[in-house]
Structures are given as structure tokens and as C-alpha cells.
Symmetry: C2
Subunit: 344 residues, 2 copies
């Protein structure tokens, strides 16, 4: 048994378009994902399924820019007011050589300022769903704090690509960062985020890169070959007070479990040395061999195996849902991680 935090409000995030392969296609990150996962984790008798509590923005404001959060809240209405017919997709970005810190007045410029890319359309309901997703993370963190028992927050939309002041990669509010901050605010002095999603958790890294109280470890497809392409290299160790508190494990196309598990061992060793008092797991299952947009080769049983490896850390642990796409096995893969963890 493991508490599952879930709300149907995730369905408010239901974009119609994702820019992929030069076309606008139905988004990979869609409501059915959470439904498949919920079904699988309840079928294997995880649960109960608990509704999140309401939270304000207090914790989010410690890991995100206030102007960014205000933008997320108002962006859709501003876009819709222009009469644009499609969903809100940024076209121009403050890339190298351009002004880095001037927020344009008009919505097209503002969109680009706060964005990492064009795959993630902003839509009516996106902010409300992102808020509810964050509340799942916070409710989960509170439960772990109160009871010590592990919790699975079935967050959707995911969060780990959302940086201090940018959305992207289907992410808007960084649930893992908010949860880690909550642990700290409630008394922990050191927290670790372990990101096992196929994609580098660039947002989480960005948020904590200069902080020494949160260790961020990410296993992911080499950014030379995989989204988000411009962060997640092995030589990114943190800066200033955060020096040494960031660890990346980029892995090549075709990576199978044995190689992946060696990187996991390194990451867990580093987290142990850091002295984390609580663990937030950014749980993406797009490392699965059948994932439609990733290139690792983990099999369904491997998820149980690594859940058990993480469980042996014996840390108060909050699992947060991140990625995993396209195939119904995302459900059993998530359930396997949780079952493996509990069997440890």
C-alpha cells in the first residue's frame, strides 16, 4: 500500500496541438496518461487515492519567479484576447546575442520570453491544471512529513522541465522543486531530487543550481542526442553554494538496464554522501523500451528492480509523476517502481 495523490483536475490540461516533426499533432502529454497510470496503480492495490488539499503560491514563489507565475496565470486570456486562432505557441525566443532580461509588452514576445521551446502549447485550463498538479506534490510532501511513509503524487502536467522562469517540455510549475522546498520549509536541512525520467530535469537543475540544500541527480538521454539538448551534461556540477550538489548521468541511445542501473548506483551513492534527509523522485517511465519519443531500453521488470534499489536508501520518499508516453504499459511500469520500492 502507498497513498496515491490524484485529482481529475489534471484533465483541464488538454492541449490540442504539439509542434512535432514540423507538424501540429495531438500532444504526447495527454489526460489518458494519468488515467492509465491511476488504473494500474490501483489494480495492484496501491492506494488509497486521496484528493490534494488546496495550497497557495507561497512555496512556488520560493522556486519560481513571481513574474513568471503571474504570466502563467494570465497568458491564455492575453493570447485569446488577440484573436489568434490556435493555441498559444511562442515563435521568437531570447537566444544568444539577444537581450536576456527584458520582458516584452505584447503577448507574443512575453510568451517567448518565458518559454524554452515550441512543443508546449499554452491553453485554457493549463494554469489551473498545473496548480492542481503542484497541490498533489505538496499534499504528498505533507503526508511524507507527517507519517514518514512513502507517497505517490500522480502529478499531471509534469514539472521537471519548468525552470525558475520558463515553461517547456510539457511542464509549467516544477512540482519536484516545490516539494523539495516544502521539505526544507518544514524542517529538513538537506533534500535530494532523483530524476529518473528519460529526459534531463533541466528545470529542477536550473532552480537549485546555486543552492547547497538540494542535491539534484538526473539520469537521462545524452543531451547531444535528446531533448532538452542544451542542459544535462556530465560536467554540470552546480555553482557557488550549489557546487557539487548537481550530478548528471547522460546515457547514449539504446541504453539497457544494466548500464542505466550502474548510473543509478552512482547517483544514489552521491545522494547518500550528500546526507539527504528526504528524497523526491521525479518519476518518468519514458525510459521504457516502447516509449515513442525516447531511446532507452528498460523493460517492465526493470522498473520493479530499480524501485527496490531506491527503497534501500531508507529515506522518507515522495514519488512525483513526470513523463512516460504513448503505451498503456506506463501504468504497470509506474506500479512496478512503487512495488519494488515497498519490497526493499
Amino acid at each position: 500500500m502507498m497513498d496515491i495523490i490524484y485529482t481529475e483536475k489534471h484533465c483541464l490540461r488538454n492541449a490540442k496541438t504539439e509542434l512535432h516533426g514540423g507538424k501540429l499533432v495531438a500532444p504526447f502529454e495527454a489526460p489518458f496518461r494519468a488515467q492509465w497510470i491511476l488504473k494500474a496503480v490501483t489494480e495492484v492495490r496501491h492506494g488509497p487515492v486521496i484528493e490534494p488539499k488546496a495550497y497557495g503560491m507561497e512555496t512556488a514563489l520560493k522556486v519560481h519567479d513571481a513574474g513568471y507565475l503571474a504570466f502563467l496565470e494570465t497568458a491564455w486570456d492575453r493570447w485569446a484576447a488577440t484573436g489568434m486562432e490556435g493555441e498559444a505557441i511562442p515563435v521568437i525566443y531570447p537566444v544568444r546575442g539577444m537581450q536576456q532580461h527584458r520582458v516584452p509588452r505584447d503577448i507574443e514576445g512575453t510568451l517567448g520570453y518565458y518559454a524554452q521551446g515550441a512543443e508546449t502549447s499554452l491553453t485554457d485550463g493549463t494554469f489551473e491544471a498545473a496548480l492542481a498538479s503542484m497541490e498533489c506534490a505538496l499534499t504528498g510532501a505533507e503526508s511524507v512529513l507527517n507519517n514518514g511513509a512513502p507517497v505517490f503524487a500522480l502529478c499531471r502536467p509534469p514539472g521537471h522541465h519548468a525552470s525558475f522562469d520558463q515553461f517547456g517540455g510539457y511542464c509549467f510549475i516544477n512540482n519536484a522543486a516545490v516539494a523539495a522546498q516544502r521539505f526544507l520549509d518544514k524542517g529538513a536541512t538537506k533534500v535530494a531530487v532523483l530524476d529518473v525520467d528519460f529526459h534531463h530535469g533541466n528545470g529542477t537543475q536550473n532552480i537549485f543550481y546555486r543552492r547547497g540544500d538540494v542535491f539534484v541527480a538526473s539520469l537521462h538521454g545524452d543531451p547531444m542526442d535528446a531533448f532538452p539538448h542544451f542542459l544535462g551534461f556530465a560536467d554540470e556540477h552546480g555553482e557557488g553554494e550549489g557546487e557539487g550538489a548537481n550530478a548528471n548521468y547522460p546515457l547514449p541511445p539504446g541504453t539497457q538496464y544494466a548500464e542505466w542501473a550502474r548510473a543509478l548506483d552512482s547517483a544514489l551513492g552521491a545522494i547518500g554522501k550528500f546526507g539527504a534527509e528526504a528524497l523526491v523522485v521525479s518519476l518518468g517511465v519514458d525510459t521504457f523500451e516502447k516509449d515513442p519519443i525516447s531511446f532507452f531500453k528498460l523493460k517492465t521488470d526493470d522498473f520493479k528492480r530499480y524501485g527496490e534499489v531506491i527503497g534501500r536508501l531508507r529515506l522518507p520518499t515522495l514519488f512525483l509523476m513526470e513523463g512516460g508516453y504513448g503505451v498503456e504499459e506506463i501504468g504497470i511500469n509506474v506500479a512496478n517502481v512503487l512495488s519494488g520500492f515497498e519490497a526493499a
Copy 2:
């Protein structure tokens, strides 16, 4: 009479899609633009129409990154080889907080690395057309150098948004920068680029920002309100050897000719003080009141008026076509600039 440099090869740039308003629409920057302009400038007895000569990449390599030019040449084939169904549109960009100088291996990452935004699809034929457009500019520069008489290079695709190593805003090779470089290589010590397109010539500014031999002046929609949004502010004066050799005149929505012309006077005054021996005019006519994607209010007669004002500089002058969209009047507006110039 003014020589017109033109080639039908511009038609090789014929993208099917532009990301605009959250939809993929038919591009504003399309072959009919050049055809309308050619018709108008020949009807008012400019001409003759001259085919460009062939040039290598020698001059382009002095203003663009070699890796970028190689990318442009190979990008479409690399994209097509992936089996992606749409045109090549980048989705993820190296924005703030990300690695700025690592070029990913895969084509999706490479596309984003060399891009400013998502509105400009790369397609089969784009590179060949951009090369032919550059050859129009170089042929025009050579004619001005040899004869002193003004020339109109009917370049398409346009060039002024293309930076040292980024495409965007319908631009791939910066024709104005290549032409200015050619003047310098053939003996000029100081050249000016005057950019009268509605949009800031961010690429041209970027290329010459730290150089003292090319003065860049641009009149354009305030980037707080207009594309490209993140460059073109009044406080960008150049750096290092280029300090003082960049001048921006951002103007607000609804700007009419009187206000625009005052900014032109300032720009021409600055160019005069700089001591330019030759002038490259980045001629966009999207300042026109009926332009579908701009917000200035110039009327058809105003183009003749400002052509005359530029003519009074009495500099060897090369006009290069940049923007101007959607309405057939782009032709007469261009013709008017050239006629005004000759009447000076």
C-alpha cells in the same frame, strides 16, 4: 533607370508552413512577393533586370560562422532523413540558463541551436535560394563598386534577421552584411547599413556589433511590441571597436510618416558623421499602412519621399530587398523608394 538584380531561383524558397498564431499557415514570405516587386519596378521603367553572377562563400564566411553555413547547406537533408513529415521547424532552443555553445549531434537539437524561433521552416531548396539571394546582393555590390550608380538587388529570401550563426524571421544568409563586407574587401574603409524594414535588423546588428568599420542604423517597431522582441532597443550602441557604430530607432504602434522621417533624419545624420563611403539599404516596405503583420502607417507616397531623403546623402548606394508582405502595393512602394532616390 536603376539596374535590378534578380533571379527566378528565389522560387526555390517556397515553404508551405509558417507557425503563426498557434497554427501552421501559408508563409507571409512567399515567391509572389518578389514577382509583384519585379513587375512594379520594371513597369515604372527601372531596369534592366540583370541575372546575378555566381560567387563562392568567401565573403559570407567573413560575416557568418562556418558551422552555421554548413548547417544551412545540410539541414534539410538531415531532417528529411529522419522521416519527419513536416518542414523542419525547431522546437527547443538554447535559452537563458542553458548551455550556449554546445552544438547537439541530432538534427532537432542542431536546428534549435542555429535558430531564433519557430516561424521560419527550413525546406528543400531554402539553402539554394538563400545562396542565390546572396549572389544578387554581391552582384549589386560589385556593380556599385564598378560604376558608382545605385543598384537594386531584389533579394529573396531576405537577410537582415540572420545573425552570425542563427536563422530566423524568414532570413538565412545576411545579404546586407555580405554586401557591406564586400565593399570593405574592395577598398572601402567605412560602410553604413541603413535598415528601413519595419522589423529590427537584429542579424545585421549582431554581426557588426563589435566592429568599427560598419555603421548599422535601424528604424523599426519597438521590440517591446514587435518581432524580433529581444533586440533593437535604443540603448544598444555597439561594443568594443563597434562602440558608437550602432543606432536603433524603435518606434511605437501607429507611427506615421512625420515621426518616422524624423528618425530617418537622425539615422542619416549619424551615418554622415560616421563618414561612410558606401551605403547598403535594407529595404523592407512593411512599414506600409496595409502590411498584414506590422504596425506603422506609411502611405505609398511616403516611400518616394524617403527615397529622395536617402538620395541626398549622395553615397554609392545598394538597395537590398528585405520584408513587405501580403498586399500588391509592396511593388509600387519599392519602386517609389527607388524613384525618389533617383530624383534627389
